[in-house]
Symmetry: C2
Amino acid sequence: MKISTKVEFGIVALADIAIYSENGDTVSSADISRRQNISQKYLEQILVALRQAGFIRGQKGSRGGYTLARPASGITFAEILDGLDNNILADTYINDDGSSGDLRETVNSCIWEKLNGYMREFTAKMTLADFIELHRSDSGESEGEFMYYI
Amino acid sequence: MKISTKVEFGIVALADIAIYSENGDTVSSADISRRQNISQKYLEQILVALRQAGFIRGQKGSRGGYTLARPASGITFAEILDGLDNNILADTYINDDGSSGDLRETVNSCIWEKLNGYMREFTAKMTLADFIELHRSDSGESEGEFMYYI
DNA sequence: CTTATTTCCTAGTATGTCAATAGGCTTTTT
DNA sequence: AAAAAGCCTATTGACATACTAGGAAATAAG
C-alpha cells in the first residue's frame, strides 16, 4: 500500500515537534522543514490540518511556532491517520442503491470491513511516544549525537 | 481504506465463475455481467487481468467462457490483490536518494512495513473457497433458492 | 464454409486525487 | 514600525480510476 506524503510528513512533523519542544520551546515550520527536508509551504498546509485535528497548538508572531496540544503518549496512529486522511481507515462501504448483487455485498461487508478492523486495531495501539521511542532505538543505542566518525 | 472497483469486481467475478462452473460449464462475461450487475466491457478487462495472473482460463468462440485454472481453495486473497492491484499489498518503501531524514525512514521502514505485513498475513490466510463459504452462510442457511416469500 | 459467439486487445475520456508551488493576509513579538 | 511567524486560498502538473468504445482473432454451431 502506498503511504501518502501528507501522512508521512504529518507523522514526521508531529514527532519532530514532540522531540524539539521537550524543553518548552516552540517549533516553527521552518525548523521542521530544514531538519526533515520537507518543502516548507507544503508542510504548513499539513500543520494546519494537524492543528485543526487537535494534535498541536500554533503560536503566531515572532518566536512563534508549534507545540503539542496533548502528550505524545496520548496520540495514537489511528487518530493521526483519521486526521490526515479520511480514506485509509474509513469503512467506505455504502449501500449505494440496494440493487447491488449479493457477492458484492459480501466482499464489502465481510472482507473489507474485517481487514479495516485489523488495521484500526493495530494503529490504535501505537502512540506517537512509541514511535519516537522506536526511532531512538532504531538510530543506534549510543549517546553521541553524531555518528559520522567512529 | 477505499476498495477499488477493479479489485471488488475481480473478486466477485472469480467467485461467480467458481460457483457457476461447478458442473463443468464455462461462464461467459455476459453471464457474470448480468448476474452481478457489472458493465460487461469493463468486466472483460478485469477478466483478462485475472487470466494473465493465472487464476482463470478463457475459452474463445461460441459456447466459450471462463473456468478456474486451479481450485478455489488454492487461490488466496493476497494473490488476487497482487494480481489486480500492484499497490495495495506492496512494500512501496524505496530509499529514494539516501538524503531523507531519519524520522522519515522510521515511518516507512517500521510503521508502514509492519502494517503491510499484517494485511498480507490476513489476506494470505483467506482463500476464494473460504469467501464463497462465507457468502453462502451469509445469504441465509435455508435451502430454497428464492426467499422473496415466506 | 459461413456465421454467430465469445474472448482479447487497444485507445480514448471524464473525473478526481496527490503533491506540491505560490501569493498574500493576519497576528504577535521585538 | 518592522520582522517573524502562522494561516488561508488558488492554481497546476502528473497520475490513477472507472469506465466507454471499437474492433480483431479465434472457435464452435449450423
